[in-house]
């Protein structure tokens, strides 16, 4: 620890720490632009000028940049010295020379870091009377708006996009006063992290395009802490609402999980909440197959008859833990099915078993970033859980930080660290069937069919146990790396639908344990609450549930499109019986065949918990109250229970949670404060900012009398501007980040204990399982021979970040980026079929032909079929025949190249 004197006051700081970070960590105000907590310092913008004094007698001092200064014990600096203030103000004056007169028509206005810094430096008088330099903008696709004139050349965009997120299609062009940040030509930004540019850019060059369509200022948005439903990482987000419409998603800082960044599926995938196909009223299907809406009581009555026949409850990995619990209570554990297909459930259960074993470390994303040797076995993480891939990207820099430390270069000195490391990277090994977007930073990759990948895993396992000297075999290299690493990590997942793969990964962990090596095991489940629903423990498998339904059992289906889970034929049969009650948010094929439809709330419209890949249960809060008859699934289940006359009914979310925690995991009650939590024992936490406008006019055309703000009995939040959001409250209860003078998301540092550290009130969420059970045992993996036949291909399920997720697929910006249906073949097989890329092929049994794409790494005899884009599984057998469609015309698609791009 070191003591630094800032304007005469002594503060504690870490020696060697970045001075700017030290200043901000004490929640003092100092303007900056180019520095970013995740990207370090480059000293480009000259905004964080301070005066450093040699000693107590020094009164003149020396002007320097805080972001390029290391903290030393006893150092004396001044932030408020006139010289420093003038310098900062002058820097802003330069930046403003060419800045357009745009604030009123800029989406950044009101949450613009540039605005904040201009006001903070106090530069309010324009002296420059010359003309402004201008640029033409580019069309950067459906996600990102581009307004280049607003640029202040801080380089944050390219530093993030290229260096941090590994993108290649955004660059800085030009020199000195003529700098352009854009693509070589118009076109969608390829990286799935492009959306972060909106938050990274300190001004309005990159803006949220879908948000801009129905734009509201930050002060007008109502928001609450929530969790992204895009994948199983469980990134923390702020969904924001106004006029009953979900307007946008922004990142909600979590020190251990998502940090400062989200993927684009998370950021742009939530517009399904506003979808025109939302189910808004309870409906009963009449005999002619049409639905009758509007009679909620009748719908409840009809639905509750299903219960009298001993209904099966089919849960869902995309419904909250509490909703699944409510269903389980209603139908009984023996009749409850987790709602994921048998294979997947087996995989997840296997993974959960491994995770609970002694000595197993399940890393958070922050810990992933610290790993120095990573093996990704079978999972295309860039597509199934993109935020994880971003962390893996950072992990390969671990080595460069170690090298920098050795060379006495401060780790925050970004250019120095990168320059010193050159192309040196930590070890990353990827074994997947097809190419992935992480291949470029991988030490080595391996391809293979699923069983071949299992074999590779087994081989690595054997090599760890017993090294083969000087072999440059893939397995040997991996084993060697893992064995010698400081923090090795094994990543696997369920997307290839192979339980052996997970077992193989577990075996590697086991082998590492034998070497007294840390065994970090990261299993990537498919959906937001897959782990949760699996932990809830349904005793009935989905296939047997479907079987029973086709035999005439009634069923309640909770937020689950069964066609997304099981072969269409079996679902068709199951749904034929006329007593299936479906609770869901959007119309889908299952809903179409339900006898009763009940409108469920989306995650933004209710409070609940999701359990992420590390079994971290996280609370998400209702952002706004849904209109019409939409209400959280548990309320419907409660009404059903009431109508049926069972005892389990709940009158509030708090009562569901109470019972849920009691009967499942008691930690659930502790992952977020209870509803009577108050700030300084007095105030609720407001969902609206204190400057929320239009209260007396928003609804005046309907009712001139302003209604009473709804009292929220379930949470510590208010549905109004009343209350306090001081920043030091429990970390799970931050509804938005704002601090006086810090109107942009940069204000998040006021909510952190130290820059990029834990939230002041603690990072939210608790793990439901801790690895302290029995020791991990080896799984016995038999070897299976793959028989190949011409024209018959083994199906490899592929995932694509835009298109493979059930819900984000209904979000219009994601739809605009989703590729046209395609299959992936290797060159060899394509040649054998005499087809080329962009030609058409028909999967037997399917009516539509799909495009062909060639993958460089795909082994022969397999075909990659992307979920969500092509109906999957095509026939449930795992093998398909392909026939060439000579008449195929390629369809336009959001983006074709991304999936196969290494």
């Amino acid at each position: 620890m070191a003591t630094i004197h800032i304007d005469g006051t002594a503060y504690e700081a870490k020696a060697g720490e970045n001075l700017l970070e030290a200043i901000l960590s004490h929640h003092l105000d100092l303007p900056y632009f180019c520095w970013h907590p995740s990207m370090g310092s480059i000293g480009a913008c000259r905004q964080c000028a301070i005066i450093t004094y040699a000693d107590e007698t020094d009164t003149r001092g020396r002007l320097g940049m805080a972001c390029m200064t290391s903290v030393t014990d006893g150092m004396r600096i001044s932030v408020q010295a006139p010289l420093a203030k003038n310098f900062r103000s002058t820097v802003i004056e330069w930046l403003m020379e060419n800045h357009p007169h745009d604030c009123p028509v800029c989406e950044e206005g009101g949450e613009c870091h540039l605005q904040d810094m201009t006001v903070m430096t106090g530069h309010s008088m324009r002296r420059y009377r010359g003309t402004k330099r201008t640029w033409q903008n580019q069309n950067l696709g459906p996600f990102i708006g581009h307004e280049m004139n607003r640029c202040i050349t801080c380089y944050r965009c390219v530093r993030f996009y290229d260096e941090y997120a590994g993108g290649s299609d955004l660059a800085a062009f030009g020199s000195r006063g003529r700098m352009y940040f854009g693509r070589f030509e118009d076109g969608a930004l390829e990286s799935e992290f492009a959306g972060n540019l909106v938050e990274v850019c300190p001004t309005g060059v990159f803006t949220d395009k879908p948000f801009a369509q129905s734009y509201s200022r930050k002060w007008d948005l109502q928001s609450a802490p929530s969790v992204c439903v895009g994948c199983a990482v469980g990134c923390n987000v702020f969904p924001a609402e106004r006029y009953g419409e979900l307007k946008r998603i922004t990142n909600r800082y979590h020190g251990e999980v998502n940090g400062y960044f989200l993927c684009d599926r998370g950021r742009f995938g939530s517009h399904f909440v506003n979808h025109e196909k939302r189910i808004r009223h309870a409906g009963v299907r009449t005999r002619d197959g049409e639905y009758e809406f509007g009679d909620m009581k009748n719908a409840i009555k009809v639905a509750s008859t299903a219960l009298s026949k001993g209904a099966i409850g089919i849960g869902s990995p995309r419904a909250s833990f509490e909703n699944n619990f409510a269903l389980r209570e209603l139908v009984g554990a023996e009749n409850f099915c987790a709602g994921i297909y048998d294979t997947e459930l087996e995989i997840v259960n296997t993974a959960l078993d491994v995770m609970s074993k002694k000595g197993i470390v399940v890393p958070t994303l922050k810990q992933v970033e610290e790993a120095d040797a990573i093996l990704v076995l079978g999972e295309d993480i860039a597509n199934t859980s993109s935020r994880l891939a971003l962390s893996v990207r950072q992990a390969v820099r671990t080595k460069s930080f170690a090298m920098a430390t050795d060379a006495n270069i401060p780790t925050w000195q970004d250019a120095g660290v990168r320059g010193h490391a050159q192309s040196e990277k930590s070890a990353l090994f990827i074994a997947t069937p097809a190419a992935t977007r992480l291949d470029g930073i991988a030490t080595q990759t391996a391809s293979g069919s699923i069983s071949e990948l299992v074999s590779i895993g087994s081989a690595i396992c054997r090599r760890i146990e017993k090294a083969t000297p000087n072999s440059d075999d893939f397995a040997e290299l991996v084993a060697d790396s893992l064995r010698s690493a400081r923090a090795p990590l094994i990543v696997t997942g369920s997307s290839l639908e192979s339980v052996e793969l997970v077992q193989a990964a577990a075996n590697i962990c086991r082998a590492l344990q034998d070497q007294n090596q840390t065994s970090s095991f990261l299993f990537v489940p498919a959906e937001v609450n897959t782990i949760g629903v699996a932990l809830l423990g349904g005793r009935m498998s989905l296939s047997s549930a479907l079987q029973k339904m086709s035999e005439g059992h009634s069923a309640i289906v909770l937020e689950n499109d069964l066609y997304f889970r099981a072969p269409a034929t079996s679902v068709d049969q199951a749904l034929e019986s006329n007593n299936v009650v479906v609770l869901d948010t959007l119309e889908n094929r299952t809903v179409e065949q339900a006898s009763v439809v009940l409108p469920a709330a989306t995650y933004a419209e209710q409070t609940g918990s999701f359990v992420n890949y590390e079994s971290r249960a996280q609370r998400f809060y209702q952002v706004f109250q849904p209109r019409d008859e939409i209400s959280p699934a548990w309320t419907w289940l409660s009404r059903l229970a009431e109508a049926f006359g069972t005892e389990s009914s709940w009158d509030s979310y708090a009562s569901v949670l109470e019972q849920c925690a009691e009967r499942t995991f008691s930690q659930l009650k502790n992952i977020a404060p209870s509803s009577d939590y108050r700030i300084d024992t007095t105030s609720r936490i407001p969902r609206q900012t204190h400057r929320y406008s239009g209260r007396t006019a928003m609804n005046a055309q309907v009712n001139i009398h302003e209604p009473k703000a709804k009292v929220d009995p379930d949470t510590p939040f208010s549905y109004s501007m009343e209350g306090q959001n001081p920043g030091d409250q429990n970390g799970a209860t931050i509804p938005y980040v704002w601090s006086p003078g810090w109107n942009s998301n940069q204000s998040v540092f006021k909510f952190q204990q130290e820059v990029a550290g834990e939230l002041v009130g603690g990072d939210p969420g608790l793990r439901l399982i801790e690895p302290n059970g029995a020791p991990l045992e080896y799984f016995d993996l038999g070897t299976s021979e793959v028989s190949r036949k011409d024209g018959v291909f083994e199906v490899i399920p592929l995932h694509f970040v835009f298109g493979s997720d059930e819900m984000s697929n209904k979000s219009w910006p994601i739809q605009a980026r989703a590729p046209a249906p395609f299959v992936l073949l290797c060159e060899q097989d394509a040649d054998a079929l005499e087809v080329k890329a962009k030609m058409g092929v028909r999967i037997d049994g399917e009516s539509e032909s799909v495009e062909i794409r060639i993958d460089t790494r795909l082994p022969s005899g397999v075909v990659g079929i992307p979920r969500g884009l092509v109906e999957f599984p095509p026939n449930g057998t795992g093998r398909v025949q392909l026939s060439v469609d000579p008449d195929f015309v390629a369809r336009s698609s959001g983006d074709a190249e991304v999936i196969a791009k290494g």
């Binding site: 745009d102 003309t131 062009f173 002060w219 239009g694 007396t696 006019a697 001139i704």
Partner: protein, 172 residues
């Protein structure tokens, strides 16, 4: 006694003074140009709506009686209010909205006749607020100052703007 007579006289002389009454509504009282009455939305000198839906009036309003939603029309690049609603039954005519408006769109006029029997009629929508003219500021056109491209005004064509740089001339 004398003081009473003086008082009587001083009052009596007022019989011969011009009375102060203004016979409203036949006779309209003079309203200073700055008088803060009914709120209007004005148009640019080119006849297009001035309001760019920046929301500053709404947030500056102490009584929160202005609500609006931003939208864009086709591809002309301009921002417009999709709806613009003022609840005059809450308005206190303080003028902070006019002062906050960065485009001179919202203005207060010397029209004070804002009485209704039904409070619901005090809710004015955009079609009630938008006038044809420019109001108090005949010359200002925000879009000629702002840098954003709109139909008929490309980059570099706003006031004090250079024509756009050629991206292709830049070093990679």
């Amino acid at each position: 006694m004398l003081s009473q007579i003086k008082t009587l006289w001083t009052v009596f002389v007022h019989l011969f003074k011009r009375n102060e009454t203004v016979q409203y509504p036949e006779e309209m009282p003079y309203q200073a140009p700055r008088y803060r009455g009914r709120i209007i939305l004005t148009r640019d000198p080119d006849g297009e709506e001035r309001c760019v839906a920046c929301n500053l009036c709404a947030v500056a309003c102490p009584v929160d009686c202005i609500a609006l939603q931003k939208t864009e029309k086709e591809e002309d690049g301009r921002w417009y209010p999709e709806f613009f609603r003022i609840n005059f039954s809450r308005c206190i005519m303080c003028g902070l909205c006019e002062e906050a408006c960065p485009t001179y769109a919202i203005q207060l006029t010397p029209d004070f006749e804002l009485c209704e029997f039904d409070r619901n009629n005090m809710v004015y929508e955009k079609e009630h607020l938008l006038i044809e003219g420019t109001g108090k500021y005949p010359d200002y056109s925000f879009w000629q100052v702002a840098g954003k491209t709109i139909a008929g005004k490309d980059k570099g064509e706003a006031q004090k703007e250079n024509s756009p740089e050629d991206v292709r001339s830049l070093l990679p």
